[in-house]
């Protein structure tokens, strides 16, 4: 008899524990009775998943802080249509499994209006289905993968960074013109990031144009075998599609094994301040002469009005954090999101913001145009080359634009306009 009593007690206790957990959850969850999740008359709640810890945290952890700082500035000036923006930043440690958990928490429990600037190709790929099934706007993904540009399959997802294929094509085009007849190799991340970049390079140089290619895994910091293989292949120019931590590893390992090559690094992992922070004293000689690409003005370009605006906001609202490419990126994304919110109007809905972004026509700090349209959900469509000279990373040459497919790489004039009054979109 007591066995049944004990079993009954166990069942009852389980039910009580779970029910109390549910009750706690019910009490704490922000029940906005408004029909649009995350939007009230006074507040817009958005969320993101970022690698605040882990192998990709170097540099990237500063992006969300900068975006938050920009939103604080906008909130202090009345918000958007009277609503203040609340930005919930969750750490996923660049681990796709954690991204699943935190994104579900943001959407199901915190009931955010949209996911902004989710960072990482491997991490964000896993939540595309979930976000689009739940019709959550997935805006301005912080990655250049082609996966975000699938308007038919994922109508709520929009990219922001230039696609890696575009970047590969532009880099290859530059090398063809300036480093002709030199052996070109590719060192890339072992996922869509590296694979798309390599595809872009091969689209312009041809499959035979790439002498050798190597990959690295984010979970394995030993890049010596890959660098050794590149050295053995006699690479004179090495294109690197790597996150900042692994760019630093590659440069350092190459110096250690005596591998001399012209490095051309993807904009994703080429920020000078981040890299010199990682390489420390060795940074100055190793980074000299490094080529890279960029779609935002150079951090060292003090004459640029956007840079001075962002630097000022950085001092006032971001605790004067060291101003580098990641901080600039965070401010730029924040600016674009506020632009989209203002354009969507007072009657803010999830469908509404998606349509607003598809209408496009946004101008901001970017030097290349956005490609947003009903049939194209990718972000920036062009890049400019950058070079590190005398400890400064500055842009040079024309702006190149191209597409994901077989279109040619063309030169274009910069699209950057002066920032609006007070630095808040009209």
């Amino acid at each position: 008899m007591h066995r049944i009593a004990r079993r009954g007690l166990a069942v009852l206790t389980t039910a009580l524990v779970v029910a109390s957990g549910a009750a706690c959850g019910r009490g704490s969850s922000n029940s906005t009775s408004a029909s649009v999740p995350g939007v009230t008359d006074t507040e817009i709640v958005i969320g993101t998943h970022q690698p605040l810890t882990g192998p990709a945290a170097a540099g990237y952890s500063k992006i969300s802080a900068a975006s938050k700082a920009y939103f604080e500035y906008v909130n202090g000036n009345g918000g958007v249509n009277g609503r203040k923006i609340t930005y919930k930043v969750m750490d996923d440690g660049y681990n796709p499994a954690n991204t699943q958990q935190v994104v579900r928490q943001l959407v199901l429990q915190d009931k955010v209006f949209a996911i902004l600037n989710g960072l990482g190709t491997p991490t964000h790929t896993g939540v595309l289905d979930f976000l689009n099934t739940n019709k959550v706007p997935d805006l301005f993904v912080a990655s250049g993968s082609l996966s975000w540009n699938q308007p038919g399959k994922y109508p709520y997802t929009f990219g922001y960074n230039p696609d890696y294929t575009i970047e590969g094509k532009i880099i290859a085009n530059y090398l063809k013109a300036n480093f002709a007849d030199q052996k070109v190799c590719v060192f890339g991340q072992h996922d869509d990031f590296g694979a798309d970049g390599l595809k872009g390079v091969q689209a312009v140089l041809g499959a035979s144009g790439v002498t050798h290619s190597e990959t690295y895994d984010v979970t394995n910091t030993n890049v010596a075998p890959a660098i050794g293989a590149l050295k053995a292949a006699g690479c004179q120019v090495t294109i690197s599609f790597s996150v900042p931590g692994f760019t630093a590893l590659a440069l350092g390992t190459a110096a250690r094994v005596g591998f001399k090559t012209q490095w051309v690094v993807s904009n994703v992992g080429a920020d000078y301040a981040t890299l010199s922070g990682l390489l420390k004293a060795a940074g100055t000689p190793l980074l000299e002469g490094m080529l890279s690409t960029s779609y935002l003005p150079a951090v060292d370009d003090t004459a640029n009005p956007w840079i001075s605006l962002f630097r000022k906001l950085n001092e006032q609202y971001n605790n004067s954090a060291p101003f580098d490419g990641n901080v600039e990126y965070g401010f730029s994304v924040g600016y674009l999101f506020v632009q989209a919110l203002k354009a969507a109007g007072k009657n803010l809905t999830r469908q509404g913001i998606v349509q607003t972004v598809e209408k496009g026509g946004f101008t901001g700090p970017g030097i290349a145009p956005f490609r947003y349209s009903k049939t194209d959900h990718s972000g920036y469509g062009g890049l400019q080359m950058a070079k590190v000279q005398g400890g400064k990373q500055l842009l040079f040459g024309p702006v190149y634009v191209t597409d994901d497919a077989t279109g040619p790489v063309q030169e274009s004039s910069p699209t950057q306009q002066a920032p609006p009054d007070k630095g808040i979109p009209a």
Binding site: L9, A10, G25, L52, T53, N98, G126, D217, T219
Partner: protein
């Protein structure tokens, strides 16, 4: 006697199924998702508690077995989707494939480990825990490396209505798997095989003298727990709708072990407590850290590491104060309550009476 055990267990399972079914309606989708995650953990934890608690084999590699089950389900589901088969029966078939694959691997590991005891067995399973997820990177063509695979799932059956929450459907799937696992394991524990397991754990020499094949028993125990882990991993794939090696690190194996020990080693109810703790503890510590006003740097450090730290502290406290875990405490409380009432003393003791409290003269082993 045997028939009444089966009927009794079926009755309990039916009752639990009813309560949980109602619960999934009461809870909101996020809680349903947490419940589903706990159920997935329970599948693996139940198997592990039988292996470690009732058979004395310490396994640090159950995360790898879960990974094997998960990847098998992912590959199977994606193969179905590629051939355009979208019916609902693809899901049980894939899960069965996951269980079978994990069972086969469990058999291989079990045979390799049959001669090993204690720390040596733990070492072997540790190697498995680290090596197996790394295979996803080595055989990148099939397993897609660090990025992992997304798992295609059949949609919620139309009969349930347009707006049926997907999380509730996932909760139903996970709870079905968990209840099935619990039923089968409960029957196994009460059977002759369960007795054999415990005999081998308590005294190998005596068991051998009694005619029990020790190696066979240990391999079978490993196989059973591997099947459970494979089912748990398959459910992981269904819940997350993706698989990647970073979801099945060594931390997962250690967490499973922590869960069964803190919950109550050797008891299925303990596995339930442990699974709930695995899901709720990170959630509660996140909420706690969120309430505190901290500098961003400190917040960053705490957010990732506090759940682990608390779990570790909890383990130490449990080992010192209550070696029987949560279930042991509940049993003690239950006995204390019964002891207050006039009547005969407890007829039965729990499976771990030896460790939980000093030898009770009236205690008899089941």
């Amino acid at each position: 006697m045997r028939r009444s055990t089966l009927l009794r267990h079926l009755g309990i399972t039916a009752l639990a199924a009813l309560i949980l079914f109602v619960l999934t309606y009461v809870l909101d989708p996020f809680r349903d998702y947490q419940l589903a995650t706990a159920a997935a953990y329970l599948c693996a934890a139940a198997g592990l508690t039988v292996l470690t608690g009732l058979n004395g084999q310490l396994s640090l590699g159950h995360g790898a077995l879960m990974a094997i089950g998960a990847y098998a389900v992912a590959l199977s589901q994606n193969r179905f989707s590629a051939h355009g088969v979208t019916a609902l029966w693809t899901l049980p078939v894939s899960l069965a494939a996951g269980v079978v694959t994990a069972t086969v691997c469990g058999a291989v590991i079990g045979v390799a480990a049959a001669r090993l005891r204690g720390p040596y067995l733990a070492g072997l399973t540790l190697v498995v825990a680290i090596a197996v997820p790394a295979m996803a990177t080595v055989f990148g063509g099939v397993f897609h490396g660090d990025q992992g695979l997304s798992v295609w799932l059949p949609p919620v059956p139309a009969a349930l209505g347009e707006n049926f929450p997907f999380e509730q459907w996932q909760a139903w799937l996970a709870l079905t798997a968990a209840l099935l696992t619990m039923l089968l394991l409960a029957n196994l524990i009460r059977s002759r095989f369960g007795r054999t397991l415990r005999a081998v754990r308590d005294n190998e020499v005596a068991a051998r003298l009694a005619g029990i094949s020790v190696a066979r028993t240990q391999v079978l125990a490993f196989v059973v727990s591997a099947a459970c882990a494979g089912l748990g991993g398959g459910m992981f794939a269904v819940l997350a709708q993706s698989v990647s090696p970073s979801a099945f690190t060594l931390t997962l194996s250690l967490n499973l072990l922590l869960a069964v020990v803190v919950g109550g080693l050797g008891s299925l109810a303990g596995a339930v407590w442990g699974s709930l703790l695995l899901v709720l503890l990170p959630y509660w510590t996140d909420a706690l850290v969120g309430r505190l006003v901290l500098s961003p740097a400190l917040h960053q450090r705490l957010a990732g590491n506090l759940p682990l730290a608390i779990f570790g502290l909890l383990l130490i406290v449990v080992m010192i104060a209550a070696p029987g875990g949560i279930q042991g405490l509940l049993n003690r409380a239950g006995r204390w309550v019964r002891g207050r009432r006039p009547g005969r003393p407890a007829r039965r003791a729990e499976p771990f009476a030896q460790e939980a409290e000093p030898p009770a003269p009236a205690a008899s082993r089941t």
